[in-house]
Symmetry: C2
Subunit: 298 residues, 2 copies
Amino acid sequence: MIILLGGKGYIGSAYRRYLQSHDLAFAAPGRKEIDSINAVQLAHFLHQNRADFLINAAGYTGKPNVDACEDNKADCLLGNTVLPGVVARACAEAGIPWGHVSSGCLYSGRRADGAGFTEDDAPNFSFRQNNCSFYSGCKALGEEVLASAPQCYIWRLRIPFDENDNVRNYLAKLMRYERLLEVENSLSHLGEFVSATVQCMQKKLPYGTYNVTNPGSVTTREVVEIIRASGVRQWEPQFFASEDDFMQTAAKAPRSSCVLDSAKIIEAGIKLTPVREAIGRALQNWRPEVASTAPLEK
Amino acid sequence: MIILLGGKGYIGSAYRRYLQSHDLAFAAPGRKEIDSINAVQLAHFLHQNRADFLINAAGYTGKPNVDACEDNKADCLLGNTVLPGVVARACAEAGIPWGHVSSGCLYSGRRADGAGFTEDDAPNFSFRQNNCSFYSGCKALGEEVLASAPQCYIWRLRIPFDENDNVRNYLAKLMRYERLLEVENSLSHLGEFVSATVQCMQKKLPYGTYNVTNPGSVTTREVVEIIRASGVRQWEPQFFASEDDFMQTAAKAPRSSCVLDSAKIIEAGIKLTPVREAIGRALQNWRPEVASTAPLEK
């Protein structure tokens, strides 16, 4: 029995779909059923439900974007830094392994040697470096809180995308903006991320941190070209002159743009599609957004 | 009506004594009565009790010392970083002013120009500087969370001491150790701290941050000399050869030692006794620890 925290969110919904379609038994308690900041209550819930594994897909990401975290610092800390620590304690008490959906946003750029960041590289976009968004700082501190957690996977997601039009989908986001920032990033196909992380559990890979990104990296311009070539949207976005220009005119919090090395999880036998191919395939299978509200009453 | 959070702690107990002896109406809800991490519940409590002011003396300090914070990171964050943010929101919703007991441990040493740190100096012992204990990092981040809080006092306490023998009293701590670290610090006489902060409220001083320390600074050796001269304890403590020696043999987390400038609060008309005089007076009035447990049943 898998316990899924944050099952109503964007990432959590993808876990629900995956677990359902793979006939994996799970429970996704909501906030009414469980106060996951309360380690005792959570441990009790794990015991009652005979949990074998827990997936923490809960977190605070800020709406409409990461800038909201600058104005809601306590929520951001609670969801991204304190919650992982509480979950770690509850899982340790229950004696079960678990996985935490972390983020690749702890990094900026590439390594000094030009390579992508591996799991052994210390975050360089964090409170410790004093150059980060509040969100990235909280996420990095969340990993720090888990440093000594037993039986714990830390799965780093990096800018999710897939074939479903949704405001949280990177491809859909790009298509909605008229002005973009040219940066280079590694990305995670949401479905592949979920599948890869569940395989970590099933194959009993060694505990620890895994960069779960599609191999390679892309620049914003490259993604725009792939979108235009796919025919899903034809538009001529403008680009900010520089990151300074972007920060001055459009953003509050600095953005993390970075290249991650996903060799560790791939060498562990888990398949992830190279990023350009994964983007192309998502666009081929593009599904317009389905209205998420119920039809109006007649 | 004043609401006191953390009224059962070392600092909170001093507030209770002060408020009682000055006939100031207050309520000190315990954890059973109120979950202060729940802003909605806290706002409701403030409304129900017609609160005019709130004092947040709640926090997580680690027992027996700050090293415990390294092992209990989620609790440390919850108590020292998230809680202030939740309290700020509840007080803003209730429209009442409030004061947060912060700490001077956000600093290390003296300013580059040799002066003590003022409220305008950015913390230099924090996650942002990547040189701090987890406790100091959380306290500094707690002040950051409050940066935009309206009607909020941030009162910085620095190593409390007074005339009551207690494991939390700096003078009593020193007397209990056989080996000490020679450092220079500003200190806060607990009773004077409490009195000064309540006067901030009563005199309606401008909101913002105040270093509430007794003017001046002392070194560990100087305090030992004052204790010996007072006759309260005669002992010949050893000293660690250096901070490195201390860190290697006795401590887990780096300690903050720092000199603060308390001119701002003093210029606002609030009296604080110079630190050596305050220490001498505490030792003159020294009261041995009273057993804190009830007598055994007969």
